[in-house]
Assembly symmetry: C2
Homo-oligomer: 115 residues x 2
């Protein structure tokens, strides 16, 4: 039990999430890419499934920023660390914000010829 408890990652409660922190978390290209990927996934994704143009430690940092700002939740299943977007929390606090950011990112990617 102790070892499992130690592997539970800290998350802000819904009430602790701040719009400034969410915007900061989403203002980095790599983090925005992670969230776009997670938002289109049917279920939670393992961190290791992301192919990111950064080192493992940088990737871990980006996931931590997303988690600590309340944009994603992360939990362990066996040895895999899984992530998913806190869409319900975000939509309750800030209706339409996540969708408009994802929409803006998609439009920009299309405009610049990137996926």
């Amino acid at each position: 039990m102790t070892s499992n408890a130690a592997r539970v990652l800290a998350h802000p409660s819904r009430e602790e999430i701040r719009v400034e922190g969410v915007l900061h978390a989403l203002s980095d290209p790599v983090r925005l890419r992670i969230v776009r990927h997670l938002a289109t996934a049917a279920d939670e994704l393992a961190c290791s499934r992301f192919e990111l143009p950064v080192s493992k430690s940088t990737s871990t940092h980006h996931f931590r920023v997303l988690r600590e700002s309340g944009v994603i939740s992360q939990f362990y299943r066996g040895t895999a660390k899984l992530s998913c977007v806190r869409a319900e929390d975000l939509d309750t606090l800030f209706p339409g914000l996540l969708d408009s950011v994802l929409g803006a990112a998609a439009l920009q990617a299309e405009r610049l010829g990137k996926s």
Copy 2:
């Protein structure tokens, strides 16, 4: 004419505005406050009309970040530096993004008991 030309401030063209830069600019509480104020103003506002809890140089820095990210435009009228939100550019590039950020900020301010 030369002295006037030297006082024209550099702005990104609409095509140069990036969603990451806009989100970064809006992720700071003071900058978000400036933009909320500008967005509700009937016309452009002078920087000196803002009462901000920061020094003049910090305030100038925040306005520059907003301008260089494409969130606001700034221009001189006489000795006053005026600012306004680039709402049309932002809405064309990223439909609904600015409104959802402003809406989220307003909801949060209401929830936390701040204006």
